[in-house]
Amino acid sequence: MNTVRLADIAKEISSKNAGNYFLTFDIIFPDRETYERVKRARVLTSASFSALYGVAESQVLRVIEYDPGNAIKITMRRPRVSGDPGESDVFGAQQYAPLLDVGVPWEA
């Protein structure tokens, strides 16, 4: 089976603060079929996400598969509260990059 990168099939992939204590990752697909394939492949789950970011699964708060929008939302606690000493990304806007390379099994 072939594998495609998430970046090649998703329309939007981004990260952002959801309040000062949480980070949220939004992955939006262009159509129902692509979205369903990703859902079936189980590549965006709290287990896969925690492995990708090297965090405990308990730190991943919630994975929402949002059918009306063909989109998946993953929310987790921030490693530090936004702006605390040592902060490197106050807005949390640059934390999505590892998602771009997530492999999705893809049959033609």
Binding site: G19, N20, P30, R62, K73, P85, A97
Partner: protein
């Protein structure tokens, strides 16, 4: 100009609908009136709303009560909005004044409106200034009587969290803004407010059901973020009826699509299904999003569930020290390969500074740009770059100590020894040699929910004739 009448059901247009125009001041650049603003005004909105603030900008601006944007940018934006609103005789609502919505921010916006009115020789108009800042004494007193539950913060509010704060604001819901409109305000300058309230208040004062108005507020809260391509500074216009909302971007080069609307529902939220606010929860589970044509989307299907207790979100920030930065460049492949050891050694030397030099506690962070400065422990890429910038950041109880410790760390980097070293004339390069003083450091101290008996009780309003 004659004072406009009180809003009410009579403000609703044909078919019982209202046109609402939204702008979002993300503060990246001042508004350009030539682009979508004029187009938006041409679409005939009956109210203009602008969210001037955000909690996303970090704790510094609230903690230091500092302006997020240069005064000149704020004035530019307010002048464009004010003249358009007065010309059209439609209300203007600006909230979270000056970025953080402190009392200083509200007063600053009122002062800017005065300046603009006098320079442009505008006729008299009525401004409602609504304040949202809380004193420590007030909150400490409330704490003696009620428990103040955490929202994002890990535990219920403690007196020490209040004491550690330099500024605290509460986020008002729609009610204080509705009250201002009903009192005949042509311009509302609100302190900290929840984003949805800004665009929901006028429709609610005209009789649009709360569920639809709050859904409108949610959809418009980041203005053109709900449109594509992502250009957050443009205007978005919505036509809101009793049950449904039609979104249309003002900029001819933007479109609203199902995806762009979903992106907005997701934006900066933990869930797109429920939107909790003061007084109730907007339930979005049954939302219907329908593309009407290639740039307009109809949204409907939200329901509103009143909460048993009215609560407002509190935001507080307080100081953590003074900051100094130093930028260090490294091109040696051997030193880059040995960077973990180099930094460990550096930290050891800095922390081991003789007590006769530094008695006060300080904190040091190394940000390795080119390696893992942005994602730190989360960074999956492990390969070494050909060049590296290390930003050394020191936080200390005084600027003098921060500067001195940072300089010491930098000098130690210059003298760093590592395996495979060939160069003997200095281990780092300097873009500049000096230590850079940052603004003082702040942290978020409060993100909690304060119960209120009356939605307006902590949001005093002052009417000003300009």
């Amino acid at each position: 100009m004659s004072r406009q009448g009180l809003p009410g059901a009579s403000a609703l247009g044909p078919g019982g609908s209202l046109k609402v125009m939204a702008l979002s001041a993300v503060g990246l650049v001042p508004l350009d009136p030539a682009v979508s603003f004029v187009a938006g005004i041409e679409m005939g909105p009956q109210v203009i709303g602008m969210d001037a603030g955000s909690g996303d900008i970090g704790p510094y601006y609230l903690g230091a009560n500092a302006e997020y944007n240069p005064r000149q940018w704020e004035k530019n934006d307010l002048e464009i909005l004010l003249t358009a609103a007065l010309e059209r005789r439609i209300p203007l609502i600006v909230a979270s004044a000056c970025g953080t919505g402190t009392n200083r921010g509200v007063d600053e916006y009122v002062a800017l409106l005065r300046e603009i009115a006098s320079e442009r020789r505008l006729e008299q108009f009525r401004v409602a200034a609504i304040y949202a800042e809380l004193s420590k004494e007030y909150l400490l007193d409330r704490l003696r009587h009620v428990s103040i539950a955490p929202l994002g913060a890990p535990m219920a509010l403690r007196a020490e969290d209040v004491q550690a704060s330099s500024h605290i604001v509460a986020m008002m819901g729609v009610d204080p803004i509705v009250r201002a409109l009903q009192a005949g305000a042509q311009v509302v300058v609100a302190g900290r407010a929840i984003d949805d309230a800004i665009h929901a208040a006028y429709p609610i004062s005209c009789g649009i059901p709360r569920a639809t108005a709050l859904l409108l507020g949610k959809l418009l809260e980041n203005a053109s973020t709900a449109a594509t391509p992502f250009m957050p500074r443009e205007a978005l216009v919505a036509t809101v009826g009793r049950e449904d909302i039609v979104l249309e971007p003002a900029a001819p080069f933007q479109r609203c699509t199902r995806t762009s609307v979903v992106a907005e529902l997701f934006y900066e939220r933990r869930t797109p299904l429920l939107q909790a606010g003061p007084g109730g929860i907007l339930n979005l589970r049954g939302l219907q999003i329908e593309e009407l044509d290639d740039r307009r989307v109809r949204v409907r299907g939200a329901t509103y569930e009143p909460a048993p207790q009215y609560q407002v979100k509190l935001e507080g920030a307080g100081p953590v020290g003074f900051r100094a930065l130093s930028i260090v460049g490294v091109r040696s492949p051997q030193m880059i390969a040995a960077m973990d050891t180099v930094l460990e050694e550096n930290r050891k030397r800095v922390l081991g500074l003789h007590p006769s030099h530094e008695r006060l506690p300080f904190e040091i962070t190394y940000h390795c740009y080119g390696r893992n400065a942005i994602m730190k422990a989360w960074e999956p890429v492990r390969q070494n770059p050909h060049e590296l910038a290390v930003v050394i950041e020191v936080l200390a109880p005084s600027q003098e100590v921060a500067n001195r410790v940072c300089l010491f760390a930098r000098r130690q980097m210059f003298l760093a020894r590592y395996v495979g070293q060939k160069a003997t004339a200095g281990s780092i390069c300097s873009m500049i040699d000096e230590v850079v003083e940052g603004v003082p450091g702040y942290r978020w101290t409060i993100e909690h929910l304060l119960p209120l008996d009356d939605p307006c009780e902590i949001f005093p309003m002052r009417m000003v004739e300009i």
